[in-house]
């Protein structure tokens, strides 16, 4: 099969859908295909709970939002991008309002705000605790109204076709039929989300395997700041399902086994609402030092919401309550919830500038798959959905400008056959290794050596172990030899992607000899601005990961010590 669209967007999450709408709103004649491996309403963005940051409070200012973001990022964010970002957030919220997003409201009918970690003032717009769900549905509903957006659901991206540093199209497996499909395009926007399933204990959906990053990386596009992975303080034990930061924003406490609000020792001013890296580290320290509680699934910390009362919990955190009852058998109205830090956000991603452009002409990346970078070494809660909206639109508009008055570049038959051959090769694999066993071991490596506290010897082991797993992956066995809906094949390809990404994470982490934001090393506990105030860029080469560095853009805010 072969299709041809002016712009092909891969990924129908918040970022991808926002990009599609941005194009269709401005131009009715440009054809857009939105290709994704799930139906749009099933993307991972529906899981976002707590909210979306934007300046609405009268006391608040864009500069303050930018400063909080830069400080939260431990000064690794590009400040020009951050300034652009904060200035566009409020518009996006109002746009979504006009498209039907059921934002929570104040009594006088205005959009309500709640506090989130690392914010100087209340800045998180929300729709109960199902913000992402409502945003996704709002965008999806909007998309139904544009005739020039075609939705291709359950198509799995396998490769980009690039010639002379210019994009020509991509290939994707039509999961329903198993056929490899060619999409010719003048521009491609990658919006495939993060890579959270690298970790075993994670808040992410099953399908967040970093495909877009890996595919671009294999085409020679560098990945930026992959060592920075966010750990969210409150993942429900044992499933890892997120208990949103809004639990603490609404007034919840973190307690150790002595019922002490231990955050007072780590962040006396912000307490539970310090940025996530700070809180997660504090919790991990409590756990290591024997002050955690212990249950049938091991150590945990208590998230106490009982004092908020049933009324508030029902009104503000209904999803949390439902999830806690369904998945942990505990009603937060009655008892504290067992939680511990959990892998939650991929700060790194495809290296793009603030126009979402990669070094390949016509190839854009936006949303969690991209690293622009506004989150630097640590993302502030609720900045990511805003990022998807703001930079989704920017990517769409830039791609639109790019395709106007441009011709298609033909994809040669050989180029397509080459992609087909690669997939055939995997499909026919009949070795002795179970892909699922490899994935399990990969998760263990990541959970053990690239977790909240890192050190040289562990990371070296991780690099070594990932190399071994990559070798073993060559001898993998695909049992399912049928064409239609072959998830055995899809999962196996995903695991291949994850191995590449894990290697980039491990190598970049090993090289960065400092502690910054979410990357905390026991052997280098201080931030080192002299040597390490720079972005890592990982390139895939024949002999492994090559790491290069790029400067951080600083406009207004020189790095200072980070205290909360």
């Amino acid at each position: 099969m072969k299709f041809r669209y002016d712009v092909v967007i891969v990924g129908a999450g918040l970022a991808g859908m926002r990009a599609a709408i941005a194009i269709a709103e401005k131009n009715e004649d440009v054809s857009v295909a939105m290709v994704s491996k799930t139906y749009p309403t099933r993307c991972h963005s529906v899981c976002a709970e707590g909210g979306t940051a934007a300046v609405f409070d009268k006391e608040d200012s864009l500069d303050l939002h930018a400063w909080d973001t830069v400080k939260g990022a431990d000064f690794l964010a590009d400040q020009d991008a951050v300034e652009l970002f904060v200035s566009e957030c409020p518009k996006e919220i109002l746009t979504l309002d006009a498209w039907g997003c059921p934002w929570s409201r104040t009594e006088d009918g205005k959009i309500a705000l709640r506090p989130f970690g690392g914010q100087s003032l209340n800045r998180t717009v929300f729709a109960k605790d199902r913000t992402g769900f409502h945003e996704v549905h709002t965008l999806y509903e909007r998309i139904l109204q544009y005739p020039n957006i075609e939705i291709f659901s359950e198509y799995f991206l396998t490769g980009l076709i690039v010639e002379n540093d210019e994009i020509k199209g991509l290939t994707a497996i039509d999961i329903k039929t198993g056929e490899l499909t060619l999409f010719e395009a003048k521009a491609v926007i990658l919006a495939t989300g993060g890579a959270g399933r690298l970790y075993g204990f994670t808040t992410y959906s099953h399908n967040v395997t970093g495909d877009g990053m890996a595919v671009a990386y294999r085409c020679g596009v560098p990945l930026k700041d992959m060592e920075f992975f966010q750990f969210h303080p409150t993942g429900l034990v044992p499933s890892g399902i997120l208990m949103t930061e809004a639990c603490r924003g609404e007034g919840g406490y973190l307690l150790n086994k002595d019922k002490e609000r231990f955050m007072k020792r780590y962040a006396p001013e912000k307490m539970e609402l310090a940025p996530r890296d700070v809180v997660a580290r504090a919790m991990w320290k409590e756990m290591i030092e024997g002050r955690a509680l212990e249950g049938e699934h091991g150590l945990y910390i208590a998230l106490d919401l009982t004092h908020l009362g049933e009324k508030k919990i029902k009104a503000r955190l209904p999803l949390i309550r439902e999830a806690a009852i369904n998945f942990a058998g505990i009603d937060p109205v009655e008892k504290p919830l067992p939680i511990k830090p959990v892998a939650h956000y991929t700060m790194g991603g495809i290296h793009v500038n603030k126009n979402c452009e990669t070094d390949v002409k016509g190839l854009y990346a936006t949303g969690e798959v991209a690293c622009i970078s506004i989150h630097g070494a640590n993302r502030l809660g609720s900045n990511s959905t805003s990022e998807c909206l703001v930079f989704g639109r920017i990517a769409g508009e830039n791609a639109l400008d790019f395709v106007l008055n441009k011709d298609f570049k033909l994809v040669k038959e050989d180029e397509f056959f080459e992609e087909e051959r690669k997939i055939e090769e995997i499909f026919n694999k009949n070795g002795s290794e179970s892909p699922y066993a490899i994935k399990k071991e990969l998760n263990e490596v990541m959970d053990n050596y690239l977790w909240i506290f890192r050190e040289e010897s562990g990371m070296k082991k991780a690099v070594q172990k990932i190399k071994e797993l990559k070798e073993r992956y060559k001898d993998v066995k695909i049992t399912d030899k049928s064409k239609s809906f072959n998830t055995d094949l899809i999962y196996t390809i995903e695991i291949g992607y994850m191995l590449d990404l894990a290697e980039a994470v491990a190598v970049c982490a090993l090289f960065r000899k400092e502690s910054r934001g979410a990357h905390y090393r026991l052997d280098y506990q201080k931030r080192d601005d002299v040597n390490w105030l720079k972005h890592s860029l990982a390139y895939k080469t024949a002999d492994g990961v090559k790491v290069d560095y790029a400067p951080v853009t600083i406009t207004k805010w020189e790095p200072v010590e980070r205290k909360y």
Partner: protein, 222 residues
């Protein structure tokens, strides 16, 4: 402790039952992954968020359409558990059904905010609560599976979506929507099983009756 999963399989040609032993202390979805990763990797099912919000994993568990991710095996209190794909959808493979038609039908009900006015929008919490409940549809297809007439008509989900916007104070497109529904809303026979199975408790059966009356009034010009 273990239980037996009897799974209705379909390989594109024929369908047959398969049995697996799985541990009891997990959700149905976790057990499906357990089978896929340890026993039979050809088993196909859909699963994404595993927290009851993406709507991918609705299947029939002991005949009742449910979300596999939200269902603890132990709570089913059975030693043998039957898993089948949703009814009223074409089966693609094993527990995976074709949702293209479902999403196409959704579109017929104009499930989006129609608003021409510009300018700042206000909506009080009370106005929000008027429709909020109906925003919670995760489009899992459980209601369609439970409905004996859904295959040949719109099915409950799109009507709920239309109702959600009809009640939204920001919306200006109720008439348009009622007109669009005029040709599609009469097939309901109030079996009301959709209300019994909806994992988000949206009571589609009630909504359909309400919308039908609205369409009726609209058409009669009352």
């Amino acid at each position: 402790m273990e239980v037996i999963f009897r799974i209705k399989r379909f390989d594109g040609g024929s369908s047959y039952w398969d049995e697996f032993k799985v541990p009891i202390n997990m959700t149905v979805l976790e057990a499906l992954f357990y089978i896929k990763e340890n026993i039979d990797s050809t088993l196909a099912f859909r699963a994404f968020c595993r927290m009851g919000i993406c709507g991918s994993c609705a299947i029939r568990i002991n005949k009742k359409p449910m979300l596999a991710c939200e269902t603890q095996i132990s709570k089913l209190e059975k030693e043998t558990i039957e898993l089948e794909p949703l009814k009223n959808f074409n089966v693609i493979k094993d527990l995976v059904t074709d949702f293209e038609g479902f999403f196409k039908k959704q579109k017929l009900a104009k499930p989006y905010l129609i608003r021409k006015s510009k300018g700042e929008i206000q909506q009080t919490p009370k106005q929000l609560e008027e429709y909020y409940k109906y925003t919670l549809c995760i489009k899992c297809g459980a209601c369609v599976s439970a409905c004996p007439v859904a295959k040949r008509c719109l099915g409950p989900a799109p009507v709920v979506a239309a109702h959600r916007f009809n009640r939204d104070s920001r919306d200006e497109g109720k008439e348009e929507r009622l007109k669009a529904l005029s040709d599609h809303i009469w097939h309901c026979h109030f079996v009301s099983d959709c209300s019994e199975v909806c994992p988000k408790n949206l009571h589609p059966a009630e909504v359909v009756q309400k919308v039908r009356l609205e369409v009726l009034k609209f058409n009669l010009g009352w």
